[in-house]
């Protein structure tokens, strides 16, 4: 009996180790290749550990202006977009959390309906274009300003705040706005943090909106730049420079380095904020 249990445990630990390893493997491999000397990369000899450690590839990557532009644009879209999305979502969610809000039920139904049915890709594109959003930073922020699921999660959270909190602030003579901004919001830091992170990651990773609405390369977010370097293969300046130096930076290493550099912020911050994301899923499931 004791032996059976331990076999169960060993098998379990091994299976989970395989799961964890397969999640990490691409990153280990990419880091190894991008840090290896070119002769080993060319001969396909690198798998898990860098051979002939060097950082040339990263020097080339950071010389590429497009990557810089991409980073700058993405950070701008994330900061601006998260601020606007979070503010409008919280304000709407709080108003809709009040059970007696005039037209509240109708508006809620209207919002839920958009989760089931939408105008689709082309009508949305034509409408957004007709508003003059083509090639504008607002295209990355406004057309997807509110995610209905997050609005509903926040509304559920606000509904859980006891009525007494609101009543006591009323007695103190606070206006409705004051009550929301200086009493309700400070009580809601956790949910604001969680939803804000979801919005930030969604904007950071957003590829489709940029593909649809941005034509001007100076506005391209990181995702479009990474795609053009890695998938379409316009390596451009970096590889030319490398060729001229005779440093022998290999295309494969360079592409891996670009992928890693573009994902780094998420990989670095992720372990610290993981619990907020998990909380988000659990809050969402209560009602969803």
């Amino acid at each position: 009996m004791v032996k059976r249990i331990s076999i169960f445990n060993i098998v379990n630990v091994v299976i989970l180790a395989i799961v964890a390893f397969s999640a990490l493997f691409p990153f280990i491999h990419m880091a190894a290749v991008s840090l290896s000397a070119s002769e080993f990369v060319v001969r396909n000899e690198v798998s898990f550990w860098p051979k002939g450690l060097q950082f040339e590839v990263y020097k080339e990557v950071f010389k590429d202006d497009r990557l810089f532009t991409g980073y700058r644009n993405t950070i701008l879209y994330v900061v601006l977009g998260t601020a606007i999305s979070l503010a409008t979502t919280a304000m709407a969610a709080y108003s809709l959390s009040r059970s007696n809000l005039v037209f509240g039920k109708t508006i809620m139904m209207m919002i839920v309906f958009t989760m089931f049915f939408s105008g689709g890709m082309i009508p949305t594109y034509l409408v957004v274009r007709s508003y003059g959003f083509m090639n504008s930073i607002w295209a990355m922020v406004i057309p997807n300003m509110i995610t209905s699921v997050y609005l509903i999660v926040m509304r559920t959270f606000f509904q859980g705040i006891p009525r007494e909190v609101e009543e006591s602030s009323k007695i103190d003579g606070a206006s409705d706005y004051r009550m929301f901004f200086s009493i309700i919001l400070p009580l809601s830091k956790a949910v604001l943090m969680t939803i804000g992170l979801f919005y930030a990651v969604a904007i950071w990773n957003n590829f489709f909106t940029a593909l649809l609405y941005l034509r001007d390369e100076s506005l391209y977010p990181l995702q479009l730049i990474v795609r053009s370097i890695v998938m379409v293969g316009q390596v451009g300046e970096a590889i030319d420079a490398a060729g001229a130096d005779g440093e022998g930076v290999v295309l494969e290493s360079l592409k891996y380095a670009v992928i890693l550099v573009s994902t780094l912020p998420i990989l670095v911050i992720y372990p610290f904020i993981q619990k907020h994301f998990v909380n988000g899923v659990l809050i969402g499931s209560v009602k969803g």
Binding site: F8, V127, M145, Q223, M231
Partner: protein, 302 residues
């Protein structure tokens, strides 16, 4: 009656102001495009715009069903969605059950953290990794295939491989993230049930089978129905990034086809017609799934 509505508006005016930006957003970016669907019954003309173009009735719907591509893309969309459920749905359940059996707290937390991570990668990054790792000349996978003495396979140029690649990458990305809800459900199972099972001589395997799985069954059922509802909703991005003309036979789905017809070739009316037709089928799926899950929700949460 009217006066009472006005009184309510006056009473709630602060909240209506707070709600206004969201309301304007939903009207301008969600409802106006819905009316824009009429473009599929018109011959879209750049200068007349959506509202003033000429009516052509069902011409573009007929065009779609007369097109030999139609069957292909509907089948591809449905099959990719189906395979994603067949392989992607059980995987997080199994992972959650295994994690739940793990007694080493820190190792458990490590596996959880690491396996949730791929969920946060962008489609461009995942597609980029796949293109590189599957590359016939330099990719790691073909390196192994060659070391074993076989010919390298050009995975992303072969229509036969597309579904396998797409579905495995989906499982890889979502297995950890999908396990969160099941893990939460597992922790809420009464420990006394396990104790009783042990008293009856059940080993770990049988405890899992007779206590853990029945305990999370309600969650499994609800999530399964919701998944079925979303069978036609495949993400556009990854399919778009991984497919190419050589693999359209299996890789072309409705959204990528609509993108090519609409945005690339500017056949706005034709593309909208396809999108609306599929949108309605999707709506039927999602709506029925929700009705069923609500019905079950009351009775099956034991």
């Amino acid at each position: 009656m009217n006066t009472s509505i006005f009184r309510k508006i006056r009473r709630d005016r602060a909240f209506l102001v707070l709600l206004a930006p969201a309301l304007i957003f939903y009207i301008l970016f969600r409802y106006v495009p819905m009316f824009g669907i009429i473009v599929s019954f018109k011959d879209y003309n750049l200068f007349s715009g959506i509202w003033k173009s000429e009516w052509v009735g069902l011409r573009y719907y007929k065009m779609f069903f007369d097109n030999p591509d139609a069957f292909n893309i509907i089948r591809n969309t449905f099959l990719l969605g189906l395979y994603k459920i067949i392989f992607g749905f059980p995987a997080p359940i199994i992972l959650a059950l295994l994690l739940n059996e793990l007694k080493m707290k820190r190792y458990k937390r490590f596996v959880q953290t690491v396996s949730y991570m791929p969920h946060f990668l962008s489609p461009v990054v995942v597609a980029g990794i796949l293109v590189m790792i599957l590359s016939p000349s330099t990719g790691f996978v073909n390196q192994i295939i060659q070391d074993m003495g076989f010919e390298p396979i050009n995975f992303l140029q072969k229509a036969d491989w597309f579904r396998t690649i797409y579905v495995s990458s989906e499982v890889w990305q979502e297995i950890g993230w999908g396990s969160i809800l099941y893990l939460a459900a597992l922790t809420s199972i009464d420990p006394q049930l396990y104790e009783a099972a042990r008293m009856d001589g059940a080993n770990r395997w049988r405890q899992m089978w007779h206590v853990s799985i029945p305990g999370i069954m309600p969650a499994i059922v609800i999530l399964f129905i919701l998944q079925i509802g979303k069978i036609m909703e495949l993400g556009f991005d990854k399919v778009f990034l991984l497919s190419n003309a050589a693999t359209y036979e299996t890789a072309d789905i409705i959204s990528t086809y609509v993108y090519r017809m609409g945005i690339t070739s500017a056949n706005f009316s034709y593309a909208t017609a396809i999108d609306l037709f599929m949108g309605i089928i999707g709506l039927i799926f999602v709506y029925s799934a929700n009705v069923i899950s609500r019905k079950l929700g009351d009775t099956s949460l034991w």
